[in-house]
């Protein structure tokens, strides 16, 4: 047996011999089968004795000539399709729309721009690169990757993007990656995470205002799906969009992730404008150490409170806290690692590809997309500002002042926003490290956005 490696030729011969034996047997079966035929064509079936017969099963195979082949190959190039194609598709609203080849090309370019943004350092590459590829994939003419039921992207979308599955798995992974210690050590920073949700709700007015422009028709469900971008939470955004306005899913998801990547650009000017140098120099007391027991009880506490008070937010909060409990309990290191790594990575790839797969002309190329881009920016700005303002109000009552720079981290975008707080603080005082203090509002922002999402679901149905 172990000699096999030394005699590969003999092995090959033996295998071929075995297959030949199988053949002899197999013929018996087929000879039997042959008798149960249906209607034989006039020419009979092709074989050596009847070379002019028809090959069985070849009836519906198209015939090609050099000319037809050349024409066919030419007409199935992408170049040709981009110029000539015109397909009738249905918009999410049920209206028929003609999608032209150049629109597909435009979307492919959008896809490559997303890839470009993602591939540049620090722009949420883990998400934007696969989203960009998904966008390109789905718009390839004759690619069929988004087609039901067997297209690659359709399979992925149906598996977990159009429902609760992938977003909640991602939340489990985020929970397993997150250390809530800074929030537990200084619980009042949770209020800054709450304040940032003004970015979510305030944006509703802006979206409503867009309705004054002809061509824009946002109803409240759609407005909520757009406004949640201000929460700076990818999975929550996708979760809400899938429930309230699936046709906007891709656009709001891409906007959310793009602005999360742009947090270092959007936030600092607002932070500087709303704070005085003296405020930016406020030093905060070092955080107390948090015991293991507190870290273990925290996820359970948040989960129980969410069940009692706002159960429509419980799927999001529950999965986040499930992941965090697995992390902190210590006895299930295997599961914790899997949630943080393999499972999170695999689902990230699929969720991102699936989000990208919704970036089709009939869903994306409409006025709503543009307004979503502008409203997303507004939402981030409001969230940043309202966090800072609430911090300043809190400072009126607190003995130990809060550095308002940490309040901008309440938008979530963990841990990018906390790093921005730290960076702007260091500009003013190079010895003042705010990162750990900013992590408190930062992780509270995730909880706050989940609660806001729960309110929307409670009001407008899940």
């Amino acid at each position: 047996m172990l000699n096999m490696n030394k005699n590969p030729k003999r092995v090959t011969l033996i295998v071929l011999a075995m297959i030949t034996v199988a053949f002899v047997f197999s013929f018996m079966g087929t000879v039997l089968a042959q008798t149960t035929d249906t209607t034989v064509p006039a020419q009979g079936y092709a074989s050596g004795i009847n070379p002019d017969g028809i090959i069985k099963g070849s009836e519906n195979i198209p015939r090609i000539s050099i000319a037809s082949f050349a024409k066919n190959i030419l007409e199935t190039t992408g170049i040709y399709a981009f110029f000539v194609d015109a397909k009738v598709k249905a918009t999410p609203a049920g209206e028929t729309i003609t999608v032209f080849g150049w629109q597909e090309l435009l979307m492919i370019i959008v896809g490559f721009v997303i890839i470009y943004l993602g591939a540049a350092k620090g722009f949420e590459p883990l998400l934007l690169i696969p989203i960009g590829f998904g966008t390109v994939f789905v718009n390839i003419p004759f690619g069929g990757m988004g087609d039901a039921p067997h297209g690659f992207l359709n399979i992925i979308y149906e598996a977990g993007v159009g429902n609760e599955f992938f977003p909640l798995i991602i939340f489990m992974g985020i929970g397993a990656l997150t250390d809530f210690g800074p929030l537990i050590a200084n619980p009042k920073t949770a209020l800054l995470g709450a304040a940032a949700q003004f970015g979510v709700f305030g944006t509703l007015f802006g979206i409503t205002a867009f309705n004054f422009i002809p061509g824009f028709n946002f109803n409240m469900k759609e407005a909520c799906s757009v406004a949640i971008i201000g929460g700076a939470d990818g999975p929550t955004t996708i979760y809400i969009a899938a429930k309230l306005a699936p046709h906007l899913l891709a656009t709001v998801a891409v906007a959310a992730y793009s602005y999360m990547a742009l947090v270092p650009v959007i936030q600092p000017p607002i932070m500087r404008a709303l704070t005085t140098p003296a405020e930016r120099k406020i030093k905060m007391k070092q955080l107390r150490h948090v015991s293991k027991v507190e870290k273990m009880l925290f996820p359970l506490s948040v989960f129980v409170l969410s069940i009692l008070l706002i159960p429509s937010a419980s799927p999001l909060i529950g999965c986040l806290m499930f992941g965090n409990f697995i992390r902190e309990i210590g006895v299930v290191e295997r599961l914790s690692k899997t949630m943080q790594n393999e499972l999170l990575n695999i689902v990230s790839i699929f969720l991102s590809l699936g989000v990208g797969s919704q970036m089709t002309p009939e869903k994306f190329l409409n006025p709503a997309s543009l307004s979503i881009v502008f409203m997303g920016l507004l939402a981030f700005a409001i969230a940043t500002a309202s966090g800072i303002i609430v911090a300043k109000i809190m400072n009126l009552f607190l003995k130990e002042k809060i550095n308002p720079l940490i309040a901008s981290a309440g938008v979530s975008a963990v841990p990018m926003a906390a790093r921005v707080s730290n960076k702007v603080g260091l500009e003013e005082d190079p010895s003042n490290f705010l990162i750990m203090h900013a992590m408190g509002p930062n992780v509270a922002g995730v909880i706050g956005t989940a609660i806001a999402a729960g309110v929307m679901i409670a009001v407008y149905g899940g």
């Binding site: 009042k188 709700f201 407005a223 015991s291 507190e294 506490s301 409170l305 008070l309 706002i310």
Partner: protein, 84 residues
């Protein structure tokens, strides 16, 4: 629903939505304070009090060894590639 009505609805949703968000997080803050006090009273937070010096020590070690960590990481990576 007209645009004016939708502004109104947005106002109601903002007012009450923010109320729920703040309400929830304030209750959470109070609850966490309570839990922290109970844990302290029961003495279950000893690991944190003792751990302070230990933990900072281990952090230093980790930072000091970052070259070693990177080297091991690279080696493991290399090993994985060969392994295939």
């Amino acid at each position: 629903m007209t645009i004016i009505e939708m502004f109104e609805q947005s106002g109601v949703l903002t007012l009450l939505g923010m109320g729920v968000v703040f309400g929830f997080l304030i209750i959470l803050v109070l609850f966490m304070d309570l839990v922290a006090k109970i844990i302290h009273a029961l003495g279950w937070d000893k690991d944190a009090q003792e751990g302070q010096s230990v933990q900072s020590g281990s952090v230093t070690a980790a930072t000091g060894n970052s070259a070693v960590v990177a080297a091991i990481g690279a080696a493991v990576n290399e090993y994985r590639k060969t392994d295939k």
